[in-house]
């Protein structure tokens, strides 16, 4: 989890290998650590600040849901829940995030601002699925093979991390293998967390924001790059991806990072700092 979130070096610098307490420290680091840009505390604070700065764009309902999640996370109630009922603590955060996603869809005009929000979510989601798959695929295929039931449980954990367990079981009727999970997370066009779905849908949303055939409108270079990534994924044979999952996922993650930077530079006049990272 620390590697997926790109926090390996920071975590090691702060906690060493963590010793016996590593589980607790990882949770602490990913939940509360304010120096960790991707901790829950930091991302909810950033989401709330971003929402505040586009308050006139989002709906009142969306703003209140984000603000309430932010306020709750800073409250004594949240800290108590973290200590006493951790499952309920994380469940509330997940519910809060899904509430926001639902409210976005149901309370905003389905026009450019919402398309921008979805575009951002899809690019981030596609990258995250690729990261999760890359790290877990590496760990699960390099380790000593165990009983197939134990193997299946580990792959199911990967699917759960991508909210994909039940959709996968429906799709594969219960047959769980590493190759099947990999193909599902990369290429299932009907699964909204898969890489192909995210990239394809991101391209569609971006095309609504700025028509692809207009080279003079801002964002043309980014549009071209996103289209190329979409084409590359669509034309990839699952067997080719399965042959080198790490290289495949690395390409996806790096391209998505470049597309995000391009969006910042072309449409918002700035480029976010891209930290070179290898997902593994």
């Amino acid at each position: 989890m620390v590697i997926v979130s790109g926090e390996e070096a920071a975590f090691a610098a702060r906690h060493g290998d963590g010793g016996e307490d590593v589980g607790h420290l990882v949770e602490q680091h990913l939940t509360w650590e304010t120096s960790n840009l991707s901790s829950i505390r930091r991302t909810v604070t950033a989401a709330r600040e971003n929402a505040r700065s586009i308050r006139e764009v989002i709906s009142l309902e969306v703003w209140e849901a984000i603000n309430e999640l932010y306020l709750w996370l800073g409250s004594d109630d949240a800290h108590d829940a973290y200590i006493t009922t951790r499952y309920a603590f994380y469940k509330r955060i997940r519910s809060g995030v899904r509430l926001v996603a639902g409210l976005l869809r149901s309370t905003m005009l389905h026009e450019a601002p919402l398309n921008f929000i979805w575009l951002g979510m899809l690019l981030e989601r596609g990258g995250q699925t690729a990261r999760v798959l890359d790290v877990h695929h590496h760990v699960l295929t390099e380790r000593e093979r165990t009983h197939e039931v134990a193997e299946a449980a580990l792959w199911l954990a990967v699917l759960r991390a991508c909210s994909g367990m039940e959709p996968f079981l429906k799709r594969r009727h219960g047959a769980i293998t590493g190759d099947a999970v990999t193909a599902f997370l990369l290429f299932d066009v009907a699964f909204p967390q898969s890489v192909i779905y995210c990239v394809r849908e991101a391209r569609r949303r971006f095309a609504v924001i700025r028509p692809p055939g207009e080279p003079d409108l801002p964002g043309f270079a980014t549009m071209t790059r996103l289209s190329m990534l979409d084409g590359w994924i669509t034309s990839s044979a699952p067997t080719r991806a399965a042959a080198n999952v790490h290289a495949y996922c690395t390409h996806v993650v790096q391209e998505l990072q470049a597309i995000c930077a391009g969006l910042g530079a072309e449409l918002f006049g700035y480029a976010p700092v891209v930290v070179a990272e290898s997902p593994q």
């Binding site: 308050r55 006139e56 764009v57 209140e64 306020l71 409108l217 801002p218 449409l267």
Partner: protein
């Protein structure tokens, strides 16, 4: 009297908005206080907490620049309304419209023929020496002909109940978002009270503002593109900028979203440039256009003033209005009303000593212990000396400042601001706290419209006269009663 107000005691020597000197409710508010006062203190405390929680979850906040620790604070809100009688309001409405009309004429004159100097109505050196006078704007007629589209005139009420103008704000008066949000909170918490009380609504302000801005477009018409220009989320009034844009259904933009080409202003969009007709600007003019004002400004739009000068875009309010906000100009407003409108001023003012005048200055430096001294170009309670409460050292420091730069200061006797019952969480009862009132006036070529309400600011600290939000003040809902049929 009911339990909530049973032991309420107005402060001696002040006018209380809701109670007379004998602690009896004023006739026009008796029914409302009977209903409101029927709550037990514990119930009212719960309602107050509910209102505060609503403000927090809705993110109704402001930023305090002087507070280095954090940027956002919830504006404290007191649930007990300030109530203005219909007859009082009718008088204020006429007086405010008159005052804004005169200020508009004055600004037109200052930036054109400057007749008021030649006719001896106001000293030229006083106006031309104002920091906010912008000589480069002389000779430019604003597109649409109106300079003060939105005004906020601060009023106080003295010990005999007379409303007096305290200061004029015709640049970028803020606070109206709290007027609308305060009303919403009060209505949600006391829905039945509103059913019975005949109170003017305030929630149509954004619609009126949108209409005012569209009417100001150089080409006019409903198709005009209006935007709200904000310095950004770190500005103290960002919540309000966002609120108004949202409520008017127009774009909230920062300077980097706009550009000027061939003296026309455009908004950058993903579908290409879109022409802009009216900019409700909530930025200081120093940061409007680096070609004309501060060249180091990151907030400005290069060429904006060229577009304004060419008559292609309306700026609301017009640049240069700050000269009328100058506190040294304020004492001359009754004379300006008489000069431009041929009428006596309907609204009283606070007697003011202009330190630029030798006799006034001599009096001020000898009587600092009984005067309130204000820097002419500051607001928000900054640059101010409350003489009666100040230490000897503070008074000495201001004496030096006044003598070193007399143009910069005016002084006024301390007015015993009126009070209004206010919930005190510490004592769990109603206590008198001092209040002021900022009504909002919208102006088109056709005339002025006054929002029937306004921002009542309240000094929450016992005995304090400072109502500014940046210095511990809060706000109340302002109820303007309707005429009885």
């Amino acid at each position: 009297m009911s339990s909530l107000f049973a032991n309420y005691q107005p402060a001696t020597g002040t006018y209380d908005e809701l109670f007379d000197a004998a602690s009896a409710p004023r006739a026009n508010v008796r029914a409302v206080l009977d209903a409101l006062g029927a709550s037990a203190p514990a119930d009212f405390a719960r309602s107050q907490a509910l209102a505060e929680m609503a403000m927090l979850t809705q993110g109704i906040t402001f930023s305090v620049y002087a507070d280095s620790r954090g940027t956002e604070k919830v504006f404290p809100f007191d649930l007990v309304p300030r109530i203005v009688a219909a007859a009082d309001w009718a008088h204020l409405e006429r007086g405010l419209a008159q005052r804004v009309a005169a200020i508009g004429h004055f600004l037109d004159d200052v930036y054109s023929a400057q007749r008021c100097f030649q006719d001896g109505v106001i000293p030229a050196e006083l106006v031309l020496g104002a920091k906010q006078y912008l000589p480069m704007l002389r000779g430019i007629a604003p597109p649409g002909g109106v300079r003060v589209h939105i005004a906020g005139i601060d009023l106080i009420r003295d010990s005999d109940g007379t409303f007096r103008v305290l200061e004029d704000n015709v640049r970028t008066p803020s606070g109206v978002s709290y007027v609308v949000e305060n009303r919403l909170a009060t209505k949600r918490i006391f829905p039945r009270l509103f059913e019975r009380a005949a109170i003017h609504r305030v929630d149509h302000y954004p619609a009126q503002l949108a209409e005012t801005l569209r009417a100001a477009a150089p080409q006019g018409g409903d198709a005009a593109t209006v935007v709200v220009l904000t310095p950004g989320p770190f500005n103290s009034a960002y919540f309000e900028h966002s609120f108004l844009a949202r409520q008017m259904g127009v774009e909230l933009v920062e300077a980097s979203d706009l550009f000027v080409e061939r003296d026309r202003v455009f908004l950058r969009t993903t579908l290409g440039p879109r022409p802009v007709d009216v900019i409700y600007r909530r930025t200081d003019e120093a940061f409007l256009d680096p070609e004309v004002f501060r060249p180091d400004s990151m907030l400005g739009v290069p060429g904006l003033m060229r577009a304004w000068r060419a008559g292609h875009v309306t700026l609301a309010n017009a640049p240069g209005n700050g000269v009328a906000d100058d506190k040294a100009v304020y004492p001359f407003i009754p004379d300006l009303i008489r000069y431009y409108l041929g009428e006596d001023a309907l609204l009283a003012q606070v007697p003011t000593y202009v330190c630029l005048r030798e006799a006034d200055r001599a009096y001020v430096v000898d009587h600092l212990h009984e005067l309130v001294v204000k820097a002419v170009d500051e607001s928000g309670g900054y640059g101010m000396l409350m003489g009666p409460q100040a230490t000897r050292e503070e008074r000495d420091e201001f004496r030096h400042r006044i003598l070193a730069d007399p143009r910069k200061y005016i002084a006024q006797p301390r007015v015993e601001l009126s009070t209004c019952p206010t919930w005190c969480a510490e004592t769990q009862r109603m206590e008198p706290r001092r209040v002021d009132l900022r009504p909002y006036i919208l102006t088109t070529r056709a005339g002025s419209w006054v929002l029937p309400g306004g921002l009542t600011r309240v000094a929450l600290v016992p005995g304090s006269y400072v109502v500014n939000s940046s210095q511990g003040g809060g706000s109340k809902d302002t109820w303007v009663q309707k005429e009885r049929a």
